[in-house]
Amino acid sequence: MPGKLKAKIVAGRHLPVMDRASDLTDAFVEVKFGNTTFKTDVYPKSLNPQWNSEWFKFEVDDEDLQDEPLQITVLDHDTYSANDAIGKVYIDIDPLLSSEAATVISGWFPIYDTIHGIRGEINVLVKVDLFNDLNRFRQSSCGVKFFCTTSIPRCYRAVMVHGFVEELVVNEDPEYQWIDRIRTPRASNEARQRLISLMSGELQRKIGLKVLEMGGNAVVGYLQCFDLEGESGLVVRAIGTACTLDKISNTYAPASAINPCNSSPSKDTKDSPQAVPSALGCRSTHSSPVHSASSRLSQGFSVSVPTLLFAGMKHRHRSSEGPRARQCRAGFGEEAPGVPLSSGPPTPLRAQTFSSFSPSKSYSRQSSSSDTELSLTPKTGMGSGGSAGKEAGPLKALLRQQTQSALEQREFPFFTLTSFPAGFLLHVGGVVSARSVKLLDRIHNPALGNTRSYKLLDWNSFTADEPETRDAWWEEIRQEIKSHAKALGCHAVVGYSESTSICEEVCILSASGTAAVLSSRFMQDGALDMDHRLSRQQAPVFTSGTEKGEGDMGSSASLGFEDLAPPGCGFCHIPYDELNMPFPAQLTYCHCCRRFKVPDVLFTTIDLPTEANVTGKGCLIQARLCRTKKKAQGEGNATAISNLLPFLEYELHTQLMNKLKLRSMNALFGLRIQISIGENMLLGLASATGVYLTPLPSPGGIQIAGKTPSDITYEQHISNMQKKINDTIAKNKELYEVNPPKLFTLDPEAFRCINTELVEEVIGSPIPEPRQRSRLFRSHSESSDEVSELDLSHGKKDAFVLEIDDTDAVEDIHSLLTDAPTPPGFYSCNTEIMPGIYNWTSALQMFTSVRVFRLSNVNLTNQGLNKVFNDLCENLLKSLYFKLRSMVPCCLCHLNFTVAVPEDELIQVAVTAVAMSFDKEQTLENGRQSCDKTLMKAITENEEQLQFPLELTAESSSNPLSSAKGLSEVSGALPSARAPSVDYSSFTDRCSSWIEQLRLKAHTIRRGSIKTMSSLEKASPLPEGRSRSLRSNRSYAGGSVAVVKMTPLSFIPGTKIIKYLGIINMFFIRETTSLREEGGVSGFLHSFIAEVFAMVRAHVAALGGNAVVSYSMKECVFMENPNKNQAQCLINVSGDAVIFVRESELEATPPQPQSASTQTSSSGEGT
C-alpha cells in the first residue's frame, strides 16, 4: 500500500443549465480512482456550486498511481430519471509522484464533455502521500522524471546519458469493439480517452522501470505516439533517452562535477550490472547468443549500405536514405526520371556493381525478395518485402530471445535529443532513415482470434503476442538505422525519432536520425549541464565562455574531454573514412580550421549546435510532393506504396537540395521527412532549416540545361529561367545575409569570381554541354561515369545543372521559383532557434493552424496534385505571416508541419509553431560577429597543433567485437578521472594513447585562447539583457486567470526555468452530431483546439506552473461526415509544465549566484 491519494472537490463555476425549468443545475461530483468511487453531496439549484467536500482518500499501489488517472465526473442530479453527466476531468497524478516536481494539484479545471466540449469549471485539490517502498521487484517506477524537451532540461545537469529506451503497448481500440454498436458516442469516446490515458500511464511506468534498471532517473526527449490501426488495434509507443540528471542547486559545488564519474559506475554495478554497457550507448559486452545474432545481422548490413541505401528501399519496402541527395543520385539517379516503376530489376544489379564487399546474399533478410515475390506470397501478414515469409521464423525466434534479455533495448545507441551539451557532439555524418511498409493483420486472422476475444473482456491484460509483432517491426527498422550509421562511420544516432502513417491496413513505419560521433565524456563526466544557450546568444563564444568558466572553477575533470576540433566546425568534419567513403561525396578542407575534410552539404535531424559557425541567417526549407497511386487492397496496396516510396524520397531530396542551393546555403538542420499515405495518393513533406555553415564550402549556383539545343525560343525560355534563378539566388543571399566571410576562406574573392563567372557563362551560352558539368541531377550518363564525375567535381565549386528536357524538371524549377519569400520582418525555421537572431523579446505566440483541402477534381495528374499541395502549404505560411504581422520583426520557430490524407480527396495540413519577436537593433550582432572572427582565428591557430590523421579518430568499428573490446577498456578506465578522453577509444579501436595526449595538450592550449575570447564577448550581453527586461515589464501579467505561456521550444526567451513540474500528456476526443450548429467543420475544430489549449493551461496552472515548454501536438485526427452533420476529432498533445521567472525578476532578487551568472552570459550554472 505504498500511496495514499487524496482529493477534495471545492467548487464549480459557470456550470451549464441542466434543468430547463429552473434554469439551474443540481450538481454533484463523482471522484473515481481505479475501482473506488466517492461522491459529493448534491449542491442544489446553482450554476456555481460550493461543495467543499471532505478529503476523499484512495489507498493504492504506486503502480496504479502511475497508470491510472484520477477521474472526476460532474453530474446533474435528477430525482426521476438517470443523472445526467455534465462532463469529466481526468487528472494525471504522475507529477505528484516525483519529489522534484509538483507537490499539490490545485486549481480550476475545465469540465470536459466529448460531445459538448467545455462546460464550466471545477476546483479540485489533489495530494499524494507516498510511502517509501524499496521493494526490488516492484513494478512501478515512481520518481523517474519525464521530459518532452529534447535537450538536457534547463535546471538540470546530465550526470550520465544512458541511452535509448523504448516501449510499446497494444490494445483493442474501443471504437471497434462490438459494444460500440450499442453504446452512445459519449460512452465510446470516454472509453477511448480513458484507455489511452491508462495505456500511456502504463507505458510511462514501463519505460521508467527500464530507466531505473539502467541506473538513470529521468527520460529526456520522451516521445509518445499512438497509432490508430483501426480494427487491428491501438498502439501506444514511446521512445526516449534515459539519463541521470542532477538538479542544479544554488549551492552547487564544482566538486559534484567530478563526483558522479566516480559514484555512478559503482552504483551501476551494484544495482544492475547491465547498465554499464548500455550507458555507453553502444554494443554491450555481454556475449549472449542473442547478441551475436543481432550483431551478425547488422554487420552484414552495414558493409553494403552505401549502395543498399536506395536499392534496398525498393525491394524491401523499406526505404532508407543517406545523408544527402548526392547519394540518391549515386544510388539510382539513372532510372529515376522517366522510367516506369516496374523497372525495378536493374537496380540490384547496379547496386551490386557498387557494393564491392558484400554480395547481397549475405544478408538474408533484406535483399533476396522482389516485389513480385511479395505479391505471390500470401498471408505473410507483413508488407515488408517478400522476405517476411522467409525471415519470419528465425526473426521471430530471435526477437523473442531478445525481448527476454533486458539488454536488448539498449543495443541501440540512439538519442532522441536534438541539442547537446557543448562538446558532446563530435562529428555528424548525416541523416539516416529507414522506412518499412507493413500490412496490419486483420481482425479475422484465425491465429489471433482467440487472444482478441479474450482481450475484449479485459483491456488491461495484454497478450504478449501483439506488442511483440510491433516490437519486431521497430526492431528491424532500428537495426537498419544503426547499420546506416555505422556505414557513415558513426557509432551513434542523435535526433532520433519514429513515426507511422496508416491508411486502412497499410502502415508505413519510419525512423530517422542523424548519424554522429559523440564524445564519450557523457558516460561518466558530470559537467554536461545545458546552459541557457538558447535564450541568449548561442554564439560559439558563449559556449566557450562556459568552458572557460568551468576551467576557472578548477573542475579540470570537466575539461578532461577533448573534441579534436574546435567547437565551431568540429561537428562538420566527416566521421567516415575519406578513402573509403560510404557514398560518393565531394570533400573539401574545412573552411574554418583547414585541417579536416568536410562534405559539401550536410543534412541533419538535430538542432543547430550552439557552437556552430554560421554565416547569416537560416530559413525554413520545405520540399513537398504528391504522387497519385491506384486504389488497391491489402498486399497489392502495400506493394504499390513501397514501389512509390523510393521515388518520392528521391524527389524530396532533389527538391531540398535545389531549394538549399537557391538560398545559397549548405546545410539542413531539423530535417523531418513525413510521408503520408492515402487511398489514392502519397504525400511527402520534408521540412528543415537551411543555414550556411561557415566550415562547409559555399554552394554553387544552379544551372539549367536544355536537352534540345536547336530551338531558339526554347533557348530563350531557358535563359530566362536561368536569369530568374540567378536573381533569386542573389536576392536570397542578401535576405539571409549569406556572404561567405572572407576570413575563413582562402580566396573569397577568387571564389566569388568563380561563381559569377560560372553564372555569366551560363547566361551567355544557355546550353552548356551536360557532359562537362560534373553533377547531373537527372543525367542520362552511364553509371560508369561515376568515378570520373567524382574526380571532376572534386575540389571545384560547381553549379548544379538542371536539365529541363523532361516535365519533371520543369515542375521542379517551377516549384523552386514559386516559393514565395517570407515577407519583410519575418524569418522562419523549424529548429529551436534561428541562427543570426539573438535579441529575442519576451513576446511569444504559440499557435496551431489546421487546413483541410478537398480535391474535387478526381483525375489529377501528379503535377496538378503537386501544385495543389505546394500552394496549400505556401498559402498556409502566407496566412501565418499575415496573422502575426503585429509581431514583426519576428521569427516563426519550430514550424512543425504535419500532413495527412484523412479521406480520399482530402489533404490535411496542421502546423504548430511559435512566433517570437526580437529587437531589430543588430548592433549587438555586429559585435558578436567580430568576436566570432577573432575566436575563429584563434581556433584555427590552435588547430594546427591538433592535426593528426583523421581516419584514426573517425573510423568507426563496424565490428561489434571491437567496440566490445573498447568497452571493456572503458570500464577499466572508469575509475580514472581522466577517463573521458580515453573513452573515445571505445569507438575507435585503433586509437592509441599518443592521440589522447595530443588531444589533452591541444585542449589546454585552446582553453587559453577561449579565455581571451570570452572576455571580449563580455561587453555585449549586458545591454541586451537590459533591453529585454524592459520589454518584459511592459508585457501583460495578471488577470484573474493565471497566464500560461505555451511554446514548442525548450525555453522562453528572457526567462529562466526554475522548476519542471512534470510531463503533460493529454488525449482528447471531441465529437459532434450538430456540425452545422457549431459553425461547420472549422467552427468545430476551432473550438476544440481552443479547448485543448485551455485544458493544457488549466492543468499546468493547477500544478503551479506558468508555462508549457516543448509543447507539441502529436496527433490531430479529424473525421467528418457533413451529410450526417457529424464530425469527430482526436488530439494528442504533450509538453513539459514548468515554472519560469523573468530574468529581470531574478536580477531583483540578488543572492542567487547562478541566476546572476545567467544574466551576464550564457555560461550560467554548472560552474
Binding site: 504559440m846 489546421v850 486567470v1041 476551432h1086
Partner: protein, 357 residues
C-alpha cells in the same frame, strides 16, 4: 477544389480590432474582406483576398465564440477557454457594449420587449445600421436592463460593476435603462430634434436628483425609479401660480433682476405667467405615471416652444431660469424651498440642454 477547413488558434487569442469593429457593425465576412481590401490598412504586406478571407473567418469565429462570454463580461476574465490579455479583454467588452447613439435614440423610452425587437428592421433601415448590429445593441440594452433593474445602489455603478464598462459608457447605459424603465416618451415628432446625448444628460440629472438614491445614499436605494414622495410633494408648488399675490411678487422680482440683462425682456414679461404656470403644472402632475412619461414632451411643448418662438437665446434662458428659481426662494410666504430647488435644478439643466434646434 475547396478549402474544407481552415482554422488558426493561438495560445494567446489574436484579436484584430479593425475586424472586430467590422464584426460588431454587422458586416458579413465577404463584405468585411472587401472593406479590408479597400481600406488598404494592411500596410506594406501585400496580401491576397484569400489570405484576408481566411483571417477574417478566423476572427469572426473567435468573436462568435467569445460572444457568449461577452454577455456576462465578468466571465471573460475568469473563463479558461481563451487566453486574452487584460487590455484586449477590456477592449472587447467596451466595444461590444458600445452603441450607436442614432440607434439608442430610436429605442429610448421604448419597452425593451420582443415587440420592439420586431421593429428593429425598421430602425435598421431608418438609421442605416445593419440589422445584426441593431440586434446586438438591442440585446445589450435588454441584458443590462434585466441585470440592473432589480439591483440596489447607484445605477451607473451597478452597470459598471456588472459589465465592466468605462465610466462614460456606464452612464449612457444608466440613461438607457432609466428611460426604458420609466418609459419616457421620446418618439413624438416634436422631440425628434433631441439627440441621444440630450436625453442621456437629462436622465443623468433625473437619476442624480429625483430618485430615491439621490437623497439618501444608502445601499438599499433604488436608482431606477423616481422618488414617489418627492413627486407627491411637488403638488405643493402649485401655490406659486395659484396664489395670485405670490405669482405677481415672483414676477416682479424676476423682472427687476432681469431688466436690461436679457434681449427678450418684454416677451418675458408678457409671458411670465404662462411660463411659470407651465413649469409648475408639469411639476404638479408628476404623480401621474402617464404624465411622468410625458415630461419631455411637456417641457418642449409648454416651455421650450414658446421661448423658441419668441427667439430667446440660450443665455436669456439661463438667466431667466436662474433668477426664476432663486427669487422664488426669497418669497416670504414660500415654504417649499428644498423641493423647489430640487425640482428646478433638474428642470433648468434639462431645459437648457434641450434648448437648441
Amino acid at each position: 477544389m475547396t478549402m474544407e477547413l481552415d482554422v488558426f488558434v493561438g495560445n494567446t487569442t489574436i484579436i484584430d480590432e479593425e475586424v472586430y469593429q467590422l464584426w460588431l457593425d454587422g458586416f458579413s465576412v465577404a463584405d468585411a474582406v472587401k472593406m479590408r481590401l479597400e481600406n488598404g490598412a494592411l500596410g506594406e504586406c501585400e496580401v491576397s483576398g484569400e489570405v484576408l478571407h481566411s483571417d477574417t473567418m478566423d476572427q469572426y469565429r473567435t468573436f462568435q465564440m467569445c460572444e457568449r462570454l461577452l454577455h456576462c463580461p465578468s466571465k471573460l476574465a475568469n473563463q479558461l477557454l481563451f487566453q486574452i490579455p487584460a487590455h484586449h479583454q477590456a477592449m472587447l467588452i467596451e466595444r461590444y457594449y458600445e452603441f450607436d447613439h442614432m440607434f439608442a435614440r430610436e429605442v429610448l423610452g421604448k419597452k425593451l420587449s420582443k415587440g420592439t425587437k420586431k421593429d428593429l428592421d425598421d430602425i435598421s433601415s431608418k438609421t442605416g445600421i445593419a440589422l445584426k448590429s441593431c440586434r446586438r445593441q438591442f440585446d445589450n440594452f435588454k441584458r443590462v436592463f434585466k441585470v440592473v433593474e432589480e439591483l440596489k445602489g447607484p445605477l451607473a455603478e451597478n452597470v459598471q460593476h456588472h459589465f465592466l464598462l468605462s465610466d462614460l459608457l456606464a452612464k449612457d447605459y444608466a440613461a438607457v435603462v432609466f428611460f426604458a424603465n420609466s418609459r419616457f416618451e421620446t418618439g413624438k415628432k416634436k422631440l425628434q430634434y433631441l439627440s441621444f446625448q440630450d436625453f442621456a444628460f437629462c436622465a443623468c440629472q433625473l437619476i442624480s436628483y429625483w430618485t430615491v438614491g439621490a437623497v439618501d445614499n444608502m445601499m438599499d436605494d433604488m436608482d431606477v425609479d423616481l422618488e414617489k414622495e418627492f413627486l407627491h410633494d411637488l403638488k405643493d408648488l402649485k401655490v406659486l401660480v395659484n396664489d395670485k399675490d405670490m405669482l405677481d411678487q415672483h414676477k416682479s422680482l424676476v423682472c427687476s433682476q432681469l431688466r436690461g440683462r436679457i434681449r427678450v425682456f418684454t416677451e418675458m414679461e408678457a409671458n411670465f405667467k404662462n411660463l411659470s404656470r407651465a413649469l409648475i403644472n408639469i411639476a404638479s402632475k408628476l404623480t401621474n405615471t402617464k404624465d411622468v412619461r410625458d415630461l419631455f414632451i411637456d417641457l418642449v411643448e409648454k416651455f421650450i416652444e414658446p421661448c423658441r418662438s419668441d427667439k430667446w437665446t440660450a443665455g436669456d434662458l439661463t438667466l431667466f431660469l436662474t433668477h426664476y428659481t432663486s427669487t422664488a426662494s426669497t418669497l416670504e410666504t414660500y415654504r417649499y424651498q428644498v423641493i423647489w430647488e430640487r425640482y428646478m435644478g433638474v428642470v433648468k439643466s434639462c431645459i437648457l440642454k434641450m434648448y437648441h434646434d
